[in-house]
Symmetry: C2
Subunit: 340 residues, 2 copies
DNA sequence: ACTTGGCAGTCCCAGGGGCAGAGTGCCAAA
DNA sequence: TTTGGCACTCTGCCCCTGGGACTGCCAAGT
């Protein structure tokens, strides 16, 4: 069992190690922190912590370093989250407030979060949620190629191409456009996906095949967009903390370039609107990110749907600050998107 | 003056150094290449090359390494571009052919190019060029917030937000929508930017202010989109070639994260539809990329506009292969976008 | 005028020994 | 339970040395 003071020792080990990047020994602990006991006593506590696998020694005779499990305990039990300074909060508002559209909001969000935490920042685009169809556009790009555009009332716009269309002139196109818009306008996306299938039967027989192609394309758009996109910023920060990775940062960069991976990772994390979920080190091994930690929380987009926002960085990171930053940015983002 | 054989020596130095990452000496040259002369002779040639600053010695007594100037001569005079293998060409077609829309085409393009070259691949989105207005949509997102959507016949869709709108109900909105579409539909973007300004005067006086806001927003969209976006892939490759950079790769990653920088860089490069322009090392120092080289060429988008495509990597790269890959991918891309 | 073999000189790099420093583990005493 | 003390271990650093890899130059050969 780890004593009360033992946990306190763990806390300072984590804090000092994160700050200095150097294994911390019993002597430096008593020097830098007022424990009121001697180094030998701390050594006993450290032996306990090592027993519990909360800390480990990189070499037989050097200071100790927190293990993944140690960070876990630190995050779950020892972290107190202090609010951001007024200046920092101000900076978030100023920077995000200038955004002109959703793309811009998210781009600014991740940039600022990356700068605030010195880590890689990630934001998931909000899913359609209970958005509604605002308008459907069908554009002829070339004789045999069409593009369908789906606009929702949440401000999202998606495009999709269809190939191999034959013998469709502008009047016919215009009629199809009207038919789709009449049937779908104002419908919730979930319903629209169903309504869609019936539309081909309502048009003139010679256009049914094309209408079916269009319906399929729009259906794809709805489905494909449930699995959202990501924006990222601050990848360069990984290079700065390179020495925190055992080998090269190559595999890490490679993993985060694969958006699908990150979306799966986000998908496995709880959406918690208020708290910040933390995944540490080996918990992410399945994603090729066994030496990184991910902090994530949720934010609410205008459609009411919840999407994720977070940061990713080496296991050795300032969890406390980063959790606060993620939470603060997510809150402001929710507020901004609700048009406060 | 550098002799004929001297240039040949430069070529093998570049080739061997790129392949092995090790400074190459006179002895290894005569061993690996059939020059028919002795090492001492090669040494004399190398002395000449050093005189001309085409090669340099990292240490007093080690092999030689090409300088930026040496690479320049290599690229300009000594490179012969062999076509890609049939298999590689096949792979490009297969991979890009599956794309569903412009975003997807470019995403696949950079991915594949990154994989082909083992470098960072970049593609600029095509600018509007002589595209035309296909449709304009105006959406009320909230009581005081509007979004304008501009769709062009090249398949491009852009959104923009307007804030601080008051007292606009759905019928009024609908009327404005019609007014804008009637005036702009089918116009070339360049013309539309002008027509736009007259529209507010054609609507009912009480809506003029809103109409002016909308016109301004659409104007911004046209202007803002002249300066295009970029897609990128393969940033992880920089980590693999990390030892080619004197310090950390941090500044490089930082520079390429700044899209504006890369767009300026692309902007300074000649658009040459057939050849590949190469900028080497210090030539990019202004952009924080003094240790990287950039290869770029142009591709033609469906609207007829020319945008850029290229790769970026350490100065020590396989110029010959990469130039071929860039050119081949650009050509295929042009063909694909022209709906061959 | 080039080319060549030879040779001296220079510099890097890897390996080994030794030394100081940091830190632990354990023990016996308070 | 805490403490001081002490032996022990392991790293990191410095210095040195020897081998290896080149170059640069020179004088002789073609």
């Amino acid at each position: 069992m780890v004593s009360e003071r033992g946990l306190e020792v763990l806390r300072v080990i984590v804090q000092d190690y994160v700050a200095s990047r150097e294994p911390v020994g019993s002597k430096t602990i008593v020097e830098r922190h007022a424990f009121g006991v001697s180094a030998a006593t701390i050594r006993n506590d450290m032996a306990q912590l090592e027993e519990e696998e909360l800390i480990a020694a990189p070499h037989t005779s050097s200071g100790r370093v927190p293990t993944d499990k140690g960070y876990r305990v630190f995050v779950d039990q020892l972290t107190e989250l202090r609010p951001l300074s007024a200046g920092q909060r101000q900076a978030i508002e100023t920077f995000l407030g200038q955004a002109v559209d959703l793309d811009d909001v998210l781009a600014r969000t991740v940039r600022h979060l990356a700068q605030l935490t010195n880590q890689v920042a990630l934001a998931q685009y909000p899913s359609f949620g209970n958005a509604r169809v605002r308008h459907i556009e069908i554009v002829a790009l070339a004789p045999s190629r069409l593009m369908t555009v789906l606009i929702t009332d949440t401000g999202r716009v998606d495009q999709h191409l269809i190939d191999g269309i034959h013998g469709l002139d502008e009047p016919a196109l215009s009629q199809l456009r009207s038919a789709f818009n009449a049937a779908l306008d104002g419908q919730a996306l979930a319903d629209a996906a169903v309504t869609l299938r019936g539309i081909p039967d309502t048009v003139a027989p010679e256009r049914r095949s094309v209408a079916a192609d269009i319906a399929r394309s729009l259906g794809d758009q709805i489905a494909a967009n449930r699995q959202d996109r990501l924006v990222m910023a601050g990848a360069a920060n990984l290079a700065r903390t390179e020495s925190d990775f055992s080998g090269s940062i190559f595999p890490v960069l490679e993993a985060i370039e694969e958006q699908v991976t990150l979306l799966r990772l986000f998908g496995e994390m709880q959406i918690d609107e208020d708290g910040v979920e933390v995944r540490i080190g080996r918990e992410n091994a399945d994603f090729g990110l066994g030496e990184t930690s991910v902090l994530a929380t949720g934010y609410t987009a205008s459609g009411g749907s919840v999407a994720r926002l977070g940061v990713l960085g080496p296991t050795r990171m300032d969890y406390s600050n980063n959790m606060v930053a993620v939470r603060a940015v997510a809150r402001y983002l929710t507020r901004l998107l609700a048009e406060e």
